[in-house]
Symmetry: C2
Subunit: 230 residues, 2 copies
């Protein structure tokens, strides 16, 4: 199925790319519309395609050797994902599940090398994308090393609100269904502790909770918890 280039031309990933090259690239792509709960790929499966999220929201999670589920990250619109080949891996390291109705573009993984080699501008952009993801990972590592649980959860909630927030009434609503368990997996704690924290914050008017819902009412107040003044 052909894709209108105007849909993707303004993505940071394709910025400054030659329109003709972008056309050629898009000619090889496949588009799919997917519904909540659908799996795009599963952990350990052979990596046959790489993807771009055009619209919607995905959750990427991993299961540890002993069976614990950990949510690794959220995929936002415009993000490249599932490019296992870039990591020189034959399989997908995690499972990508659709959180809200999404539109996903994919290419055969065998195209990866040629795509990168023939589109130097895209290579630079893709590297920046991966680099930023590495940066985020390091930030989270540092948080996990040095911060107590409350601050970590506050940071995670603020990041979610920033990346996936939608203004709604007096606050910023996180725009896809997310469970306490998900937040726990992202911050290295248990759903019990997250629940307790959110309840406490709700009591202070900082957030408003609900089933798979979360709205930040007082981002500044949360930020004070995340980074206390010395």
């Amino acid at each position: 199925m052909a894709i209108d280039i105007s849909l993707v031309r303004n993505l940071p990933l394709f910025r400054q790319m030659d329109p003709a090259a972008l056309s050629r690239l898009m000619a090889r792509a496949t588009v799919r519309r997917m519904l909540p709960g659908d799996l795009i790929f599963e952990q350990g499966a052979e990596a046959t395609s790489f993807f771009l999220l055009l619209h919607g929201r995905l959750k990427v999670s991993q299961v540890t050797a002993d069976g614990q589920q950990v949510m690794v990250r959220v995929v936002h619109p415009g993000d490249l994902f599932g490019f296992a080949r870039a990591l020189a891996r034959p399989d997908y390291p995690g499972t990508a599940q659709v959180a809200v109705e999404s539109i996903v573009v994919s290419w055969p993984m065998t195209d990866w090398e040629t795509v990168v080699e023939n589109n130097p501008r895209l290579a630079v952009n893709a590297m920046q994308t991966i680099g930023q993801r590495l940066d985020e990972a390091h930030t989270r590592l540092r948080e996990m090393s040095t911060e107590e649980v409350e601050r970590r959860v506050a940071h995670a909630v603020l990041r979610l609100a920033e990346k996936a927030g939608r203004i709604e009434g007096g606050g910023t609503r996180i725009d896809f269904p997310i469970t306490r368990q998900d937040i726990a997996g992202m911050t290295g704690t248990t759903l019990h502790t997250v629940s307790r924290l959110l309840s406490a914050w709700e009591g202070q008017g900082l957030v408003e909770g609900g089933r798979q819902k979360l709205t930040v009412l007082d981002a500044e107040g949360l930020a004070r918890i995340a980074d206390p003044e010395p």
Copy 2:
């Protein structure tokens, strides 16, 4: 100063690269020999160069807002590092300190885009390098989320032995000076706990400690601690 291409041609980073292109690349490089304690760049400083470690060993650390020192990773020979531009950052996110006498190659950061765009093969390899680093970061994140301290430290020590080990007598000696504090920073714990663990392991004949020294005597035994059989 010119560099003999034979020194770098076999690095994975430059594999399959056109020799002429590699020559051009190396013509723009600078080589420096550095001594333990020297700083290659400091956290927050403007990123003016990117680097390749030819020989030796470096420690990259970050200081958190509240002043705690965290060792982010170890740079091994053949590793590209300090390529802040790839992360679209103007500054270095950490401080790189020389652990043992090292040989470092550097390029002006302004070359980064052209280097990547004109050396598609290098772009693919560099992306794999970054990708693998991202993979490692995710592994550590997962460990930090789900494993108790003892397992994390065991994993970290095994990784160090694998990446920077030198056979010595009955064991594998970690080939650069490393403190308990360093290991603590890599695993998100305190030097006290690391010291206690290493002492206990030494009592069981798994490792042999010493001032800034560490030798793994029984890697299998350690592996059993890192990943207990269910």
